[in-house]
């Protein structure tokens, strides 16, 4: 899960990483006593807010409120701006980059840093980027910090502050179950202080149970995705018109791919997982129908899942919600034959394999 900038800043403060002073407001009048001069920033969970006009500078309270008025209610990507964060304007002498992320191939945390901060890290040439793995079993050792200081080539005082921040960032990375901790820019100020100019934090959804305080975080999910999440259903909205219910992430992706290959486009998908509980199947249909697909393709490779109970769930869902949306169903598993009878009796199109089903689904789009 991702964090709003101001929330990430609060977490950074908790670990003793210096961040700029700032105030949060949901209305222009709510900006009481902002640090001046300040930067008024839209709080959204997507990048590109600067380009969208979501970042403005202010030298007085009146200007700050004016900026807030312009930014609040603005649409950036799929989000409407509901809050602004007025943050102390920094007098920056040098912009650095610092991050800790997970290197999958090395199965290890990776510390990255550069004297060229403030830009997209992808744009930094490889020879200007310090990269060193942090051995996960023993954690961050001083030799890594010494190498970091050498490579950045900073004056002694700044170097000491940067390595201290790196150490604290690693504590945060471990303590908060983070996938990414990124400070860009890490600002060396004209007065010599080193401050996290921007704080990006992504934490692991799977560790939510260890951090109950994250449960109330707003997510970058659509309202329907949020509803599904609350019911423990993996549901993702895409931009096509065919609704897909499948089981397992890989098979779901493969189903979307085959639809595309046949000239269709997945509009939403729902991963049923390893269930054959008819009630869960019914819930799945309920969520998917709210996404208003032009056709539904149910593709289950059960193996051990009972095909007939999945079929019963589908049948009950169609009855309960009285939908006219055509349903193509392909269910493999135990009691497959019985499943087919149930599906056909309920007016669904029962098919043998994935390609055949995808073809039919594309054909039936909007036929109701």
């Amino acid at each position: 899960m991702k964090f709003y900038e101001y929330k990430a800043h609060n977490i950074f403060r908790k670990y003793g990483i210096p961040v700029p002073r700032g105030v949060l407001a949901a209305t222009p009048e709510g900006l009481v006593d902002p640090p001046l001069p300040c930067v008024v920033k839209a709080q959204v969970l997507v990048g590109g807010r600067g380009k969208a006009g979501g970042i403005k500078f202010a030298h007085s309270v009146a200007e700050a409120r004016e900026a807030a008025r312009a930014i609040l209610g603005m649409t950036i990507g799929p989000y409407t701006v509901k809050q602004v964060y007025a943050q102390e304007m920094l007098e920056i002498a040098q912009e650095l980059y610092l991050s800790i992320a997970i290197d999958r191939s090395a199965r290890s945390p990776l510390l990255m840093a550069s004297a060229l901060g403030g830009m997209d890290i992808e744009a930094v040439p490889a020879d200007k980027l310090f990269r060193m793995h942090i051995p996960p079993l023993v954690g961050l050792q001083p030799y890594v910090l010494r190498a970091l200081a050498r490579r950045l080539g900073l004056p002694k005082d700044a170097a000491a502050q940067v390595t201290d921040i790196a150490r604290r960032a690693y504590d945060l990375f471990k303590g908060e179950d983070a996938e990414i901790v990124e400070i860009n820019p890490l600002a060396v100020l004209k007065d010599g202080r080193v401050v996290a100019g921007d704080a990006k934090l992504v934490v692991d959804d799977n560790a939510e149970y260890r951090h109950p305080e994250y449960a109330e975080l707003e997510q970058d999910r659509t309202p329907l995705e949020e509803e599904a999440h609350d019911k423990g259903i993996t549901f993702i909205q895409l931009d096509g018109d065919i609704g897909v219910i499948a089981n397992g992430a890989g098979l779901t992706m493969a189903t979307l791919d085959v639809l595309n290959l046949k000239g269709g486009r997945g509009g939403a998908f729902l991963d049923l997982g390893g269930t054959d509980d008819p009630e869960k199947v019914k819930q799945a249909f309920e969520i998917l129908l709210k996404a208003e697909p032009s056709v539904i393709f149910l593709n289950i490779f059960g193996g051990i899942t009972k095909a007939d109970t999945v079929a019963v769930g589908a049948e009950e869902a169609l009855k309960a919600f009285g939908t006219k949306v055509p349903v193509v169903a392909r269910i493999k598993g135990v009691n497959e034959k019985r499943a087919k009878e149930i599906l056909s009796d309920a007016g669904m199109h029962s098919v043998e394999d994935l390609e055949e089903g995808a073809e039919l689904a594309v054909k039936l789009r909007g036929s109701h």
Binding site: K174, D177, G248, A249, G250, A254, G303
Partner: protein
């Protein structure tokens, strides 16, 4: 001959008394697996389908000498269970559990590797050597004995492809589900190396998906192999930034796209199927 699991494997089941543990113990026994012990703390002294249950891995080890363990323990307790099994002395650990925090895996997987223990998973369907033994949840009936190895990051998609192979008369040696998480115990390259050394395996099918660089690394490794490799990549139409169910299946900053993987395999001379059932066709037409 096969990889990872064979006639001599003595399997322990951790979390054996749970719903999943009980059901799959039955299935693994039916498959022909030597399931010698189960572990559930607090349930020692009972049995599941005739398999004795112990309170700890240590007790299971001294009574039944398991060589491998399959873990069905819920995510919050999986790291503990896995390390307990490693300390008890098993040499192969198959972790089925999904949604284990990635920081737990950052502790667990390097620890297992340092101890010389092979880990498959987590978040995987397990491994099956056709007609011989199984540690995991792959459906029994889809397998047939034959010369093809299978490596997959997925679960049900693997069943789809193995089923298609079996129907086409292309049986398997071993199917290895390496799992869909960002950090896994055995990489695609390591699994390919196992099949390259296996005398019975004639060629390998790799089932990949978007996210990470495992397929690109595998494509580089294929160039050093003597055996043919065939691939399928799921997620060609997945939009960037969306986590497609698996924690590992996400395109970040243009990395881990299906195009990159298809291209890498293509350049390594690996035929890539456009849809699952094309895999057996590709194998057939290369023979």
């Amino acid at each position: 001959m096969a990889v990872l699991i064979d006639r001599d494997t003595r399997l322990m089941v951790q979390g054996i008394t749970g719903h999943q543990g009980q059901f799959h113990t039955r299935e693994m026994l039916d498959f022909g697996t030597k399931v010698v012990a189960g572990v559930t703390p607090g349930k020692g002294g009972s049995d599941v389908h005739g398999v004795p249950v112990f309170d700890s891995c240590e007790e299971a080890m001294s009574a039944a000498r398991p060589t491998a363990s399959v873990v069905f323990v819920p995510a919050p307790y999986a790291k503990d269970a896995a390390i307990e099994a490693i300390e008890a002395g098993v040499k192969l650990l198959v972790i089925i559990t999904e949604r284990i925090p990635v920081h737990d895996c950052l502790d667990l997987i390097p620890y297992a590797r340092a101890k010389g223990v092979t880990v498959i998973g987590p978040n995987c369907p397990g491994i099956a050597t056709a007609g011989v033994a199984k540690a995991g949840i792959l459906p029994n009936h889809i397998f047939a004995r034959g010369p093809w190895g299978v490596i997959s990051r997925s679960g049900t998609l693997t069943y789809e492809i193995v089923d298609a192979m079996t129907r086409a008369g292309l049986g398997q040696t071993t199917c290895v589900g390496i799992g869909g998480d960002p950090i896994n115990g055995t990489s695609m390259v390591e699994a390919l190396a196992l099949f390259e050394r296996d005398l019975e395996t004639r060629g390998v099918v790799v089932v990949g998906e978007i996210g990470g660089t495992a397929e690109e690394e595998a494509a580089r490794f294929v160039r050093t192999m003597s055996k043919p490799v065939f691939a399928y990549i799921a997620g060609r139409t997945a939009p960037p930034g969306k986590r497609m169910g698996h924690a590992g299946a996400i395109i970040q900053r243009g990395m881990g796209t299906a195009e990159s993987k298809v291209q890498a395999f293509g350049e390594a001379g690996v035929p890539v199927a456009r849809y699952p059932r094309e895999v057996p066709d590709l194998i057939r037409s290369s023979q």
